[in-house]
Symmetry: none
Subunit: 233 residues, 4 copies
């Protein structure tokens, strides 16, 4: 005898499984994009890399652009989050500290994403560089990127203000401008690593410290500062 209860029938795959599948597709897309670029990668390429059929990605993303957007977001988050986190919690960070914190993420081999999955940093950084191109002409990429960037800038600015109050940041520093310098160095370092083959990013942060500290160190001397072209006799 058959007993049955009317009611909605459960989906064939659990939300976890679905999420895992989506992540596989994202990971495959990231590998493809990192290797071949957003526009040299076709949707069939992504499907093949993920080991699924050509139609499968469309059950998880409405379009190729949506995949690009997801990966660009991940990439920007990787770059922005560490420095934002430090900026949020410290009251006596120096400029060099903030930069060092942000560069740290670039030096890791992998990061762990929100769902606990390991993601190769190098892939994400290569996607980040491509996302810069993308945001030039794609509002869906630009808007959140710009907003995220401004958020980080604000975070750093505030941290520097607190640092000035705490005496760890020189009073002559203009927080808004310095925040841009920190982000500029971060982006510049990122680019050197992935595009120009200079993977030694550690020295990068160190050198800013050295530049500042070096001046400081010599500060017995007067015009230790390089800007002063005219060092007095």
């Amino acid at each position: 005898m058959t007993i049955y209860v009317e009611g909605p029938i459960m989906p064939r795959i659990t939300p976890e499984r679905r999420e895992a599948r989506r992540a596989e597709i994202v990971a495959a897309a990231r590998r493809c994009f990192s290797r071949d670029g957003f526009h040299q990668t076709s949707m069939p390429d992504i499907a093949a890399e993920a080991g699924v059929s050509a139609g499968a990605p469309y059950r998880y993303f409405a379009s190729k652009e949506e995949i690009i957007l997801a990966i660009a977001s991940d990439a920007f988050r990787l770059v922005f989050e560490p420095v934002e986190r430090l900026a949020a919690r410290t009251d006596h960070a120096s400029v060099a500290d903030l930069l060092a914190a942000s560069l740290e993420a670039l030096n890791a081999d992998t990061v762990t994403d929100a769902a606990g999955r390991e993601v190769p940093v190098d892939e994400l950084l290569r996607c980040a560089v491509q996302s810069w191109s993308e945001l030039l002409r794609n509002d869906a990429v630009r808007a959140p990127a710009v907003e995220g960037f401004q958020g980080v800038l604000r975070g750093i600015t505030e941290a520097l203000r607190r640092g000035q109050a705490a005496g760890t940041v020189p009073p002559a520093v203009q927080p808004e401008r310095a925040a841009r310098v920190v982000m500029g160095l971060l982006h510049g370092c990122l680019l050197q690593r992935v595009a120009f083959g200079l993977t030694d990013t550690a020295g990068f942060g160190d050198e800013l410290s050295a530049l500042l500290a070096g001046v400081d160190a010599t500060s017995g001397r007067g015009g230790a500062n390089g800007t002063t072209g005219a060092t007095p006799p």
Copy 2:
């Protein structure tokens, strides 16, 4: 309509005319690339923008990639040349001077190319960002770009060494690393300008000076702003 009588072989157009035509095509491509991106621009788009037939660009460039390459080269040259030039000729440049010199180019509205033609800086910078994506996976773009970058780096390094000898650069500075910091700031600033809408690049260079000078300032000197080459005794 063209009427012509066959005769002894001679170029149908003068070399000057040919060069001008090529430049028109490059300029059209640059406008398209700047507006729509390398891969969203089709060859017919470029031809239409240049006001020539679909086949015409192929008489000047073997392929679309070659046009991209030409424009990427122009873009990299714009970024590298000013700082390289300063580095080559000065014996007592400070770190901030070098950065200021390189940022200057980014602030102009137009530059003059090798053939004396005016080129909008903004277009070139947008193409530069896209070229970064391109060089990730295109050897023809990467090789000269990396070489150019290393050349600039060497130039700055040498200039800093000479600066240390001259006393305008603190001895604690490591020239190789500092050169990378300068280029990192240059690229970071460029990106902020074209991708994140922060066009105030002037303050950017100023702030590095301030950071350095600020430290200095704490050691007794007031001059908050590093750009002032002329610090009185």
Copy 3:
């Protein structure tokens, strides 16, 4: 959620329930087809409109074509049945009577199908027009449609013959040809209603009467109505 215990084979749903489900799917398909056309409607569209899963329609129909076939049949039946019914039972119908009977169905808002379900006439008529396209190249649609059409034609022909015997149809009328005229007017009227926006189908039938009666009128006799074929010598 469905809980069930295996047991002796028995239908999981009652035949009534199954039939009702099938009817829902047909109704959903009819709405979709009427709105978007046979070929702009996808199977997922139909399933969604019916509120069932994508696979469900395949438990009732082997293919999309079978659904089209079912609906085309309904549509043709709607058009053919009323006139066939009148033709079958009358012994003294005039040409105009037959036409009027067939047009009546087109003027209703809904009809009741074999299972007693209300079906919007407009939906069915729109499907009928599409079925004409379909039968041009689909034998499964054409064969029954042509057979049905010929059946109606025969029915009308016979009715006209009986009418001639009864004196309600003029002897000069050729029954086969007149039957085609009746059906032609029916189809033409249908098309005007659904495709050309002329919903006033009532006047349509009236006018044929007028045309016939009008001629009659000019010949001196009062018989205002063409249905009165019975002009005695």
Copy 4:
């Protein structure tokens, strides 16, 4: 020596050649559509039928829909033009004359299009039936079709009014309604020919005459129309 005059260079193909090529593609599409239907015909099918490459049709039509539209227009024109032409020039047409004129076109094997090319009538009529489906949900097809239809209706209406003035149309006829009857019969006849396999459209028009004349005949005037085989003495 080469003499040349600057100026626009002529296109490689003459406008005539271009027009001929376009006509070939239209003819190929018409054959495909007539055989397989609008939506079962793919663009590659059309290109192959025309003996050109897959991309070629896009140099003449922006999209598949545009090809459909062009052919639907041709089809509607074929149906509307003959009756419209007669209606425009006659002052003493009878209802039967107008119908006969419009049916004549359906009986031809080929018609000559605006550019003087022979077009098989059967193909066009099959496309006409499909266009009826198309106009149900495609505004680009519907708008001109409805407008054309209303134009013909007006033309017939006016002709009937003039006929009433001339005494060739009975005064009891309501011109608007009769015009719709004429068009309804035309469409119904068309459908019988292409969809239901009844190619004898001649008898169709004859019978309307018979229906009218038959009545008339009984009133003493004699067999007005040759179709009425059975004119009693």
